[in-house]
């Protein structure tokens, strides 16, 4: 059972082990959020992305599996409200159905929303392919007290109707058997032809005959009735594909229809189809007489309340932050502790035992181990954030957050949903980039991804902490706060600027369904969290490791260099320093640290410490191997306890506080002393602003590459942000000097 982009399209028999084996292709189509992906996950054991909002699946995905002796290819399609091709997803879904000609279509219908779902069914039934209707989310329909006469429904439509509950794997065997039966004998399972009334039927007939006679090749490739109806709807996509135009008989027929109705044909067709869907719904659906106020409505009364809506949204986001960072912080510290303590010691012992040369030891420990450490430290926070986002997505709150924030985001050319990734960016830009996935259009995703690096992430904190502690200790809170505000203000300005230049195309309209609240399934939560985390570890692991090794080499070349100033990195710093002169920190130490910080911004502080105040080798009694092991265990238990008490304990977001532990204070003392001599407060402030804004870190780059499929977007971001950082730092420094602050 694997997913891939391939597909086979005809029924054919293959010989396997001497037996004839059937092969069929099933397409799963339906309205957005009707449970298509959930259904396929349940049937084929796949791990397709599921979420409680419209538009989760954006591309076609196929899975292969075997069912009762039949080899099945099943294709998950993006949800669509109709088969008219206006959005990217609709085109994908329709092209697949029309051109790939699956053997059978499973039309997944949300049983709680029959009429709108059946509107699409009327169109799917015209494709000349057998259809099986999965009456999904049947549990919720029953809870609402709906009585659906599905046998009558099957009779009226002439297709098989199966009740399913995808989340509980109910009705799946019936569904699969019905689908296989239809694929085996398509002629016996042709859907009924729905009657759209005199005028439309008469015109359709004329067009159908015309197509059959004058364009036999076109009529052979696609069902003539479907073509005729699409032509009447003015479907330009079909006109292009078939090479037909509106002159001649086609034009005459259309003009006749227009004259008869005085309305555009699109509306006539939509009305006629909805009339069918409404009529059918009246026939088969019995709703309870008294409608209870539903849970979703009760929750929304509060969650979307005029006065409470925004506070609740902010509180929800704060909770995500708090949970993600407070719970993960002790584990990140633990990972870091294990790496810098026992692992480093063991590596040292091992290298000694192997009589490895000193340079190899340094490469292994300072390059490889600390590089890998940087990746692993991100793992707890990334997996927690992915978990919480998946939860929000699955609950249905995501759509509400977009609803509440849309007004604000619209003013900088974005969609309400963009707010979620931007907010996550304050914690760490990397999961924020992944979260742009909640956005539908590529334009919105890109614009949001450009702005995310302006949200001051946790990795920039060590830099602020050292500099603010050294230069602005008296106003540390305000100074720290000003960094976050600076990022936000610049994000708004850049948003306005990009909206007017690179992203001129009008922002997509905001027309969105608000789904009912649901409890996400444990399986979906686990799968999504695991997949994102795994991806990150594998990809980031390879690139970051390579970079750590590179930086190590740059700091140690030419071989045996004593003073870091003479290393290649130091010399590069010296070359780059003049560029930073107008910003007030044109010295090689700052320039080299900034270069190293491209990898991850925390590295700026580490590199500075190395350059300004190389630490002396201190010889302490090394603990034994057994003591180390015990230490790892007890510190992990400590981390679990701490994570627990963080959730229930203190207020405030831990990683955003400016406090340092006493050891850290002591550890940074020599660096502070050196910095006081090297920077003025104004220069220090300009430097912090530069660190905030410049060159999004490499892990962000990997996330961008993964989400957008190319390095281009990162390249653009690097150019924009670096130019921005330089400009802002220069403005601060020169402006400050002008005001006499320097």
């Amino acid at each position: 059972m694997s997913t891939s982009a391939n597909s086979t399209s005809q029924v054919h028999a293959v010989h396997a082990h001497g037996k004839i084996k059937k092969q069929i292709t099933i397409a799963v189509a339906g309205n957005p959020n009707s449970g298509k992906s959930t259904l396929i996950n349940a049937i084929a054991g796949t791990r397709l992305h599921v979420g409680n909002w419209a538009g989760v699946t954006v591309g076609k995905k196929s899975a292969f599996f075997e069912y009762e002796g039949t080899s099945i290819t099943i294709a998950d399609l993006p949800g669509t409200y109709s088969l008219s091709p206006y959005s990217q997803e609709e085109i994908i879904a329709r092209d697949y159905l029309v051109h790939e000609k699956p053997d059978v279509i499973i039309d997944v219908v949300d049983a709680t929303n029959l009429e709108r779902n059946l509107y699409l069914t009327t169109q799917i039934m015209e494709l000349g392919i057998p259809v099986v209707l999965a009456l999904n989310i049947y549990d919720e329909a029953e809870n609402k007290g709906f009585k659906i006469d599905f046998a009558k429904m099957a009779g009226i439509l002439g297709i098989k109707v199966v009740r399913t509950i995808a989340t509980r794997k109910t009705g799946l065997d019936d569904l699969m058997r019905a689908a296989i039966a239809c694929a085996e004998n398509p002629a016996a399972h042709a859907p009924k032809r729905l009657n759209y009334g005199g005028d439309i039927e008469a015109s359709a007939k004329i067009l159908e005959d015309h197509l059959r006679q004058d364009h036999p090749s076109v009529a052979a490739a696609m069902p003539p009735r479907w073509l005729a109806l699409k032509l009447m709807e003015g479907d330009t996509h079909v006109l292009e594909k078939t090479g037909l135009d509106e002159s001649g008989l086609l034009g005459k027929t259309l003009r006749h229809l227009r004259a008869a109705h005085g309305e555009d044909i699109e509306s006539i067709m939509a009305d006629a189809r909805y009339a069918q869907a409404a009529g059918l719904t009246r026939e088969v659906l019995k709703k309870p007489d008294i409608r209870k106020l539903e849970l979703t409505e009760k929750i929304d009364k509060i969650a979307l309340n005029r006065f409470l809506g925004i506070p609740i949204f902010l509180a929800a986001m704060w909770l995500v932050f708090k949970l993600a960072f407070d719970v993960s912080a002790p584990f990140s510290d633990w990972i870091d502790g294990v790496r810098s303590g026992p692992l480093t010691r063991w590596a040292g012992v091992l290298l000694n035992a192997l009589h490895a040369p000193a340079w190899l030891g340094s490469l292994a420990i300072d390059g490889v181990l600390s590089g890998a450490g940087f990746v692993l430290v991100f793992v707890p926070v990334i997996s927690l954030i992915m978990f919480l986002i998946t939860f929000l997505e699955g609950s249905g709150y995501m759509a509400r957050a977009a609803f509440v924030m849309d007004r604000l985001m619209h003013s900088i050319g974005l969609h309400g949903k963009s707010f979620i990734p931007m907010l996550l960016g304050f914690g760490c830009n990397v999961p924020a980039i992944y979260a742009t996935r909640v956005l539908e259009s590529e334009r919105d995703k890109k614009l949001t991804a450009f702005l995310i690096p302006l949200m001051s992430c946790g990795a920039r904190l060590p830099v602020y902490v050292v500099f603010i502690g050294t230069f602005f200790a008296a106003n540390s809170g305000t100074a720290l706060w000003s960094m976050y505000v600076l990022g936000i203000v610049i994000a708004i300005l850049i948003g306005l600027l990009l909206k007017a230049t690179m992203f001129k195309k009008e922002a997509p309209v905001f027309i969105m369904e608000l789904p009912p609240y649901r409890m996400p399934t444990g399986r979906d939560l686990m799968i999504h969290t695991w997949q994102k985390t795994k991806h990150f570890v594998v990809k980031a692991g390879t690139v970051i490791l390579a970079m750590s090794v590179l930086v190590w080499f740059l700091l140690n070349i030419p071989w045996g260099v004593q003073n870091k100033k003479d290393s290649l990195m130091g010399r590069m710093g010296q070359d780059a320093a003049p560029v930073l002169e107008p910003a007030g920190f044109g010295n090689w130490q700052a320039a080299s640290s900034l270069m190293a910080g491209v990898m991850a911004k925390e590295i700026v502080v580490g590199t500075m410490a190395e350059i300004y105040a190389p630490k002396k080798e201190e010889k302490k009694d090394a603990p034994s191997f057994a003591e180390d092991l015990k230490g790892i265990g007890t510190s992990f238990i400590q981390a679990v306890k701490e994570a627990g008490s963080n959730v229930f304990g203190g207020l405030g977001i831990k990683s955003l506080s400016s406090s340092e532990s006493p050891e850290e204070k002591a550890g940074h003392a020599p660096l502070r002393h050196a910095l006081l001599g090297a920077f003025t407060p104004l220069q220090a402030y300009a430097f912090m602003a530069f660190v905030l804004l410049y060159w999004p870190c490499l892990i962000t780059a990997i996330a961008m590459k993964q989400e957008f499929g190319s390095w281009k977007i990162y390249g653009q971001a690097v150019l924009i942000h670096s130019a921005l950082a330089w400009t802002v730092a220069v403005l601060i420094f020169q402006g400050g000097k002008f005001l006499g602050l320097g």
């Binding site: 709108r116 759509a399 007004r407 969105m512 608000l514």
Partner: protein, 75 residues
Amino acid sequence: MKLSALKCGQKGRITKMDGAGPLKRRLMDMGVLVGEEVKMEKVAPLGDPLEVTIKSYKLSLRKKEADGILVEVVA
């Protein structure tokens, strides 16, 4: 009157849909059709977008789009 002018809790019947192209098409595909009954549910805290019930599901759209939909109030 415009759909956006309905008060929260008020119901209206669609009398006319302005505009053309993909936007109108999308709205029609979602069941926003002349003759259909809509109920104004909520206005977002910052004044835009709106939430309405149509064909027994919840739809949210911006005022700008709702301005193109004309309704008559039903009791």
